[in-house]
Symmetry: D2
Subunit: 285 residues, 4 copies
Amino acid sequence: MPAVCDPVGPTTAAFPLVAREARPQGTVVTVRGVAIGGPGVVVIAGPCAVENERQLLATARAVKAGGAKMLRGGAFKPRTSPYSFQGLKEEGLELLALARAETGLPIVTEVMDARQLPLVAAYADMLQIGSRNMQNFTLLEEVGRCRMPVLLKRGMSATLDEYLLAAEYVMKGGNDQVTLCERGIRTFEPSTRGTLDLNAVPMLKRRTHLPVLVDPSHGTGHAWMVPALACAAIAAGADGLLIEVHCDPPNALCDGSQSLTPEEFARMTTAVAAIAAAIGRVAPS
Amino acid sequence: MPAVCDPVGPTTAAFPLVAREARPQGTVVTVRGVAIGGPGVVVIAGPCAVENERQLLATARAVKAGGAKMLRGGAFKPRTSPYSFQGLKEEGLELLALARAETGLPIVTEVMDARQLPLVAAYADMLQIGSRNMQNFTLLEEVGRCRMPVLLKRGMSATLDEYLLAAEYVMKGGNDQVTLCERGIRTFEPSTRGTLDLNAVPMLKRRTHLPVLVDPSHGTGHAWMVPALACAAIAAGADGLLIEVHCDPPNALCDGSQSLTPEEFARMTTAVAAIAAAIGRVAPS
Amino acid sequence: MPAVCDPVGPTTAAFPLVAREARPQGTVVTVRGVAIGGPGVVVIAGPCAVENERQLLATARAVKAGGAKMLRGGAFKPRTSPYSFQGLKEEGLELLALARAETGLPIVTEVMDARQLPLVAAYADMLQIGSRNMQNFTLLEEVGRCRMPVLLKRGMSATLDEYLLAAEYVMKGGNDQVTLCERGIRTFEPSTRGTLDLNAVPMLKRRTHLPVLVDPSHGTGHAWMVPALACAAIAAGADGLLIEVHCDPPNALCDGSQSLTPEEFARMTTAVAAIAAAIGRVAPS
Amino acid sequence: MPAVCDPVGPTTAAFPLVAREARPQGTVVTVRGVAIGGPGVVVIAGPCAVENERQLLATARAVKAGGAKMLRGGAFKPRTSPYSFQGLKEEGLELLALARAETGLPIVTEVMDARQLPLVAAYADMLQIGSRNMQNFTLLEEVGRCRMPVLLKRGMSATLDEYLLAAEYVMKGGNDQVTLCERGIRTFEPSTRGTLDLNAVPMLKRRTHLPVLVDPSHGTGHAWMVPALACAAIAAGADGLLIEVHCDPPNALCDGSQSLTPEEFARMTTAVAAIAAAIGRVAPS
């Protein structure tokens, strides 16, 4: 008392495709040559939203210089209010492709809906399913029919069982290039945007063969907290990080308060590299 | 301490369309002649999923006899596991139309995705947006372009601000026939499926002009709890109820444990009618 | 999925004394002739804190006139901040005794600590264990050795199992005059002080023979919400209510924003009486 | 949206004694020569409960050999059920004193009630206030009048504001030797006992000058998860760890499933030392 369900029995019955038992050695998801889930720790970084060419290119160059291996950036933005900036849409995708051409960084960007999929898939190297869509089963099935890597973020109040079953939907479609990402859960605490759930890291690593990333930017909502939680995530066994960086956070169109400056980002990756080395993993170079 | 934000100031700025101030007299949503949000209390009932003709018609006749004014039933089912019954899809819609023809009850059924909308809209009298899709903004926008009544269920961990903004998305598209529905939130308590949040009823009624229903079936997960919470919901000021009823709960393909039998449903509506009368509302017939 | 534990099996093993099976007919707790848990619905009302003679007597007379059968008021106040008003302590107890002499209403007041027990027990008719002390096991054992009625409030994040086990501690000491009280649980919603959990009412009534009250004042934090939730609680099957009333809420030393005026309280008890009658219970006077 | 309160303004007004501003250089709590909150990372370890001489001495020697600087062990045990093992009480305190004599490790043990304080203080080097007593204000005040170090664990659903105010109660009594400890909060996730909240670490370090420990044993409930979260806690900036270790976990009288064996503990401290070195802190030994 309180009773705790034993989560470590054979879960093959409920999650035949994602269960660790189905692939004990683990899955490595490869995005244009960047391996997620291998010995190395991968950092994906970029702005919350693509705002314009200058902002995106400046940020992309900065995150590459700071150690990021992939670029993130939203073209289609799921916003709580219909009156908030909704993203540049196709123009944003074109700018992401431009940033990729400039920096060589593969790009991950969100697809909000099955109908958008052909368009987004034409530009992206990895498709992000956002937290609010973790149980958009139509979208999961559609993405399962793609042969592109998927970054599936955990819902804000999803249990780990529900999260694994969302991944099962994608794999059932035939796509096993799925990466998970813990990004903060909803609790009673008002001083942070979410509560980053690092329990999820070892639990997911034990229960599934899929790679597990952590997003401390959304998981805290405060830029100054991001480096500490980024280090903690890697120490807990995460395969990498998703970090919001902006070339000018005070003037960001969204999530400025949780975005690192390029300088802060570079210091963070240095700290993360030391942690990675301490646990015997390859540092994010 | 603990500080509580005052939610009762003018919210017109953040929610210009859904705020109570925008329509102080309240909105009545009318579905084939059934008024939701007027003086009467409306009961919508039916099975979780449409399973076959016999099950649906038996249940539809029973809920009509028991006092329901509309029929609910899922043809497209958002299921946590890809291995659970996913609904009869278009065949389920046809059966719902048949049940309407037989009983005269308008039908509400879930649309899971913008692409499904034309199909579902061809059969339904009211479109349900499920909890997992409360922030599927593409779907909200698409439904906002329809001129059909919408039943927008609250997300399992949505704050009331987020919920009102989801409704704002629909109204911003031009569709003001929106009905809200509290259906249980996620808490730490393991003995019930959700925790039915009846605080939400007076709070939503104060903050918005839209009608507010309550779904005690999902909000508890136990059929034996449904009548007590149904009465409580009406006493709290809800405009109606969404109730799962099945002609044979032990053999239901989903949610049997939370489905009332026709007899239990008829007893429930009698109890609800007494509560409605006690607070000066028109009883559910 | 999500799996819901069945809470309705025989719980005699874990809760031998509080389980419904141990006393299927239910327990009636009697406080100076006021029966809690019988056919009638009981309203207990009064100020959050005893402030001075004038405030307490004015409020006591008003709640008696408005239908209350017992007076509540805090002399020892558990406050989140050490810099908030901590209560009048023994002087407060003396004023409560004076109010009882004036109005004939039995009094319930909080005991915060085993050492305070002899003092508080010398004045009170019923001992309140506050939410923060629901698992103060030393206090529970000490109160179990008393032969006085106990009002045991639910902890802010206590599961129902934990709550029943706290009551088991008191009964194990030999005191079976225990009344439970749901008062709002902690969730992610910021617009109310707590989320009143009315699921708890039928669930507790099924699992235990002890009476169950509801406190919508703490469960919402807003006076204007109290009447709606009070009605809902009775409709859900609660045996009574605990309501904060103050003769002058804007000038209350604590919890003014959730305190009803005497006029609001009288209107509330009229509404509650109608609900009680509608479900076949004796109204509160 | 969702708005996040800014927690980083001057909090001196609400928390004059515990606020970081009151002592920018930080507090070092010293327990018989062991410094908590200095450059070094401190590991406190031992069994959940003192069971007998053999068990305690074996475990105490093992944790000392494994790098612990202090011994933990419960003599008075706050148990959810009155039928669970309640601790050896004074006999347990005597055994703790014996273990200290044998190993030289200072001891920390829980005091559940103001009346127990003289007895517990006669044996302990540091007084633990457990999670369920975080808002037992009488006990906080009494401990504030002591001149002994205090380990104040966070309540299972306490906001950080509430937690800091509980520490303020102790400091207001004149005792500034307070150490905080995050030990898992209550969320909707059923697969772990609690959700370890590592957001709390940088947030508390910024807002208060008091040292911050983390207890991953209670924060996860699974021994196999403890090392990963212990490393994460140190990476996040915690000043040390509280770890449950038992010489024979399968036969422990409580919390066996979350207790490390001596061998697992020794491996954990090695891993933690590497993390501590990576962030420039002195390793635990």
